[in-house]
């Protein structure tokens, strides 16, 4: 098939050649060139006309014909702006949703990490003993030391711990979270600093050297390339900056590494060497570390897993602890928590696109019915069925093409919005972009959309019998068989898909409410928290403890403050300070679980509103007495069915045996997880480098924020006071991701519901309009208007009911597929399903009601006068 403009050029060339040959011929016969040209031109005649006639021969063939169809389709689209607008807008929304969610899924889940040979990178985690509350434990620094020294299937294995950095030396003191790492940590990842150098082996134990992240380099050091070699103060000690990591360098976030590994949602800002000899650490060590291993080429993870286990077998035997190191692909480490949620969004978007397609197809079908005569005439004039098919498909193509361009623009905007507003715990958020794969996806989605929207109407219309189409007067319609069933089928599909979306949206909304109303163990109202960093050079452990004590007194003196407390970690901010839980009384000292340790003041529970169930809080006068309170969960784990008061529990900071003086309500560390096993020790037993003060107020908690800040500043002006947060804000931020997801899904579901009602309404009102004469006859023959209305409603509700049944069955499967995203509601929750069914039935009734009313108001005289 030749393109029309190429053919045009060829014809011009051909005629020109003809003229040239004629002239040459004449010259050869002895005519003068000028004369020859004049005569040859005369003989040729009007060459414009010749060319045009020759071109006309090809009109209506192949591409030319399609161009005609295209022009015709464009004209038709322009002539019905209402239909075109709805179709294009909804298609743009559907295609935009699919494109943007695919871009997200693609950049987050599918594209490999930016590490060389990333498939050989794994993170090492410990599987806890069966029955322990956590899914993974962090690893033990002592074990790492064995692995690095002896693992033969590992090409390299690096370790890191999350720590805080108080940076001073240029500008005011600022707090950052970062990592202390083994010297070979970056070498294992095979990432070199973009500026400067990596750590050296001899720096691991005592090197005062620092590598910055790109982000800190830009914000704090104004992207100064001369920063390498400069000395800054970290927690009061001089450190030399030796390198800056590349801009694209990403590590898993705290929560992705495992429970209680540093701040959950931030990339480390800077790195320093471990500064500790782990071969000298007590072999029961603590599980506070993460490790990254690069396997040698050709080694399978299972080989390495058994080697890692073998290397620490001695420790395991010796101390009766049962960690089982295992490997997770580093990519999986980063995305596992977000995976289901993102796939859910993608699935929702695809379903929405399907609904949009069916809806557009349905509208086209309704429109098509009024084209029966036109199609019939075309067929009678000799258009082949194939030509008609292409003609109708082209019209859909025009809509889809415009829709997909708009959709792509929409997707770009949606991606920008997503990157800006999505909760920070979605991994690789900064990597999200729309690349070539996304283009391909848009194209594929557009093609599928064209097929779904265009195929059915095209097929349906071209199978019309031209005789019947021409014979039947335009207004004498009763509804005949097949066509109506097809339209109803499409309405049914829309209803089915919508009910799936609605159920998913309702389940997520219910989950969201359940999460909010979960017993958190703390009061939400009238509580404000404030953190302070005490990491400055020269500050001793005693200074820190004394600071906390003085600060508590000052805070309590602020007017409007009811209770004050201090803690090493706030509720609902993730698990942290994990040590083994031991029954310190005879007969054994075995670790039976991991516990969160909290170092708090006596007034802490009053300040957070946590109830003390048994016994009471320790007092300032207990300073010389080793005491602790435990959570209910801890009591259940340690001494099921017994009175824990007076028993002894193992401490975290070397305090081997603590007398239990009280049991408090469980307090959640994460909204959606059972409260962890928690042990509370007095704050004076542990110097806290970053204490959080908790203040309960009489009035709105924000009103005292300034006073709290001033009071803390007054105690020690050198300590950096952090960002105050009310308990309300803490709760909000912890349900942020869920709220975001729920809002998106509910918006999609609402959109689907609107489309479905549009479909029902469109089909019914068209059918009523076509049947006006029939309805008139029925009325004239004595049918009651209400009966006619009921008939129309019945006709409208039939596909709704059918679609609903199919959709609810599909929703059971969908609910099961998203069960990991649900909280406190079973995937086949009966009230949710019932509510969705009722909602859809009501919407169906409303959408049928308007056409039904029109049918009831048919004036028989007017209706029949059309004949």
């Amino acid at each position: 098939m030749k393109l029309p403009w190429i053919r045009r050029g060829e014809i011009d060339d051909e005629i020109r050649a003809h003229l040239r040959l004629a002239i040459e011929d004449r010259v050869a016969r002895g005519e003068s060139p000028a004369e020859a040209e004049r005569l040859a031109r005369l003989e040729l005649g009007n060459d414009l006309l010749v060319r045009e006639r020759t071109r006309d021969v090809w009109a209506g063939v192949g591409f030319e014909r399609w161009l005609q169809d295209l022009r015709y389709a464009l004209r038709r689209v322009r002539r019905s702006p209402g239909f075109a607008t709805i179709a294009i807008l909804t298609l743009a929304l559907g295609l935009g949703a699919v494109t943007s969610t695919f871009a997200i899924v693609n950049s987050v889940l599918l594209e490999p990490l930016h590490y060389r040979d990333g498939s050989r990178l794994f993170s090492v985690v410990n599987l806890p003993p069966p029955g322990a509350p956590n899914r993974y434990w962090l690893i033990n620094g002592r074990h790492f030391y064995e692995w690095r020294a002896h693992c033969r299937s590992c090409q390299d294995i690096g370790m890191a711990e999350s720590i805080g950095f108080s940076l001073s030396g240029s500008g005011e003191t600022e707090r950052f979270s970062g990592l202390r790492v083994s010297y070979n940590f970056f070498r294992t990842l095979d990432v070199a600093p973009a500026l400067g150098r990596d750590f050296r082996a001899d720096e691991e134990l005592a090197g005062h050297v620092l590598i910055l992240s790109d982000a800190v380099w830009r914000t704090r050091f104004a992207a100064d390339p001369g920063v390498v070699g400069r000395t800054v103060r970290v927690s009061g000690e001089p450190y030399e900056i030796v390198g800056v990591m590349p801009a694209g360098f990403r590590l898993p976030l705290g929560r992705q590494w495992g429970p209680a590994f540093g701040p959950p949602d931030t990339q480390p800002a800077m790195f320093r060497p471990l500064g500790q000899d782990f071969s000298k650490v007590g072999p029961d060590g603590n599980n506070n570390y993460v490790a990254v291993v690069r396997l040698k080429a050709g080694i399978s993870p299972s080989q390495t897993i058994s080697e890692l286990n073998a290397l620490i077998a001695d420790f395991v035997r010796q101390f009766g602890i049962e960690p089982k190191p295992t490997l997770l692909p580093l990519q999986h480490t980063m995305v596992r928590d977000a995976r289901d949620g993102l796939l859910l969004l993608f699935g929702i978007a695809i379903t929405t696109l399907l609904i949009v397609c069916v809806n557009v197809g349905n509208l086209m079908l309704v429109r098509a019915a009024s084209r029966d005569r036109e199609i019939g005439i075309r067929a009678a004039l000799g258009s082949s069925r194939q030509q008609l098919f292409v003609l109708i498909l082209t019209e859909t193509l025009v809509l889809v093409a415009i829709g997909s361009i708009a959709g792509f623009i929409l997707a770009k905007a949606a991606l920008a919005a997503f990157s800006a507003w999505a909760p920070r715990d979605i991994p690789r958020l900064a990597d999200i972009h729309a690349g070539p794969r996304v283009w391909v996806m848009t194209m594929a989605a557009a093609v599928v959309a064209t097929l779904v929207c265009g195929l059915l109407p095209a097929w349906r219309m071209t199978s019309a019998d031209p005789h019947r189409a021409l014979k039947a007067g335009a207004l004498t319609h009763t509804e005949h068989g097949r066509k109506i069933r097809l339209r109803e089928l499409m309405v049914g599909i829309e209803v089915a898909l919508s009910s799936v979306l609605l159920v998913v949206g309702a389940l997520l909304a219910t989950s969201f409410l359940r999460v909010l109303s979960v017993p958190k163990g703390v009061a939400i109202e009238h509580v404000i928290t404030q953190d302070v960093s005490t990491s400055i050079a020269g500050v001793t452990d005693d200074d820190r403890i004394r600071f906390a004590g003085e600060a508590l007194q000052r805070l309590a003196a602020i007017p409007g403050v009811l209770d004050v407390g201090v803690t090493n970690q706030l509720p609902l901010r993730g698990e942290s300070w994990i040590c083994g839980l031991r029954d310190a009384g005879p007969p054994n000292h075995k670790e039976i679980a991991l516990a969160n340790f909290r170092f708090v003041s006596p007034g802490f529970w009053d300040a957070t509103g946590t109830r003390i169930r048994q016994g009471g809080a320790f007092r300032e006068s207990d300073r010389e007495r080793p005491v602790a309170l435990i959570s209910e969960h801890a009591a259940r784990v340690l001494w099921p069915g017994q009175d824990p008061i007076g028993k002894h529990v193992g401490g975290c900071n070397g305090a081997v045996s603590l007398e239990v003086v009280g049991v408090v309500d469980d307090v959640r560390a994460e909204m959606e997880k059972e409260a962890p096993v928690t042990v509370y020790q007095p704050y004076w037993t542990m110097p806290i480098s970053r204490p959080y003060f908790v203040v309960r107020t009489r009035e709105r908690p924000e009103t005292v924020a300034g006073d709290v800040r001033a009071a803390l500043h007054a105690v020690n002006p050198e300590f950096a006071v952090g960002q105050a947060m009310t308990m309300q804000e803490i709760v909000e931020s912890s349900v942020n991701g869920r709220r975001f997801q729920m809002n998106l899904v509910v918006a999609f579901a609402a959109f689907a519901l609107v489309l479905a009602s549009l479909g029902i309404y469109g089909v019914l009102s068209f059918s009523v309009a076509r049947r006006t004469p029939e309805l008139g006859i029925r009325l004239a023959l004595g049918a009651r208007a209400t009966a006619l209305g009921a008939m129309v409603v019945r006709q409208g509700m039939a596909p709704v009911l059918g679609g609903l049944v199919v959709g609810l069955i599909g929703a059971i499967a969908a609910g099961r597929a998203i069960s990991s995203e649900l909280y406190g509601v079973p995937p086949n929750d009966l009230p949710t399903f019932a509510a969705v069914a009722i909602l859809l039935l009501l919407v169906g009734l409303c959408a049928s009601w308007l056409p039904a009313r029109r049918a009831m108001r048919t004036n028989p005289l007017k209706a029949l006068r059309f004949e």
């Binding site: 005629i15 005649g45 090809w58």
Partner: protein, 117 residues
Amino acid sequence: MKARDRQRLELLQGTLDMIVLRTLSWGPQHGYGISQMIRTASGEVLQVETGSLYPALHRLERQGWLRSEWKQSENKQRTKVYRLTPAGRKQLVAQQSQWDRLHAAIDGLMNARESPA
């Protein structure tokens, strides 16, 4: 197009198509060559207008009876050369026999003596 035009055109077209096919049965040729051959072979009686010839050639090509390709002529000029396809050859045979029958019939009719009965 007016009905009268089309009738005349169709008649011309049918005959012209046959003549073009016949000309090309002697070998591949470009448009100018075809018009010259028709002229010579008919003893200068038939003269095909360019405005009819080229549409006819393209029509026959579209129907699959001719194939065309661009060729360099002896003096390095590009010309479009047509050749008969097997389908075209068949078509020529069919048209030729139809023409022969028509010719014989018209000839018999025109040259018959007045019938005695």
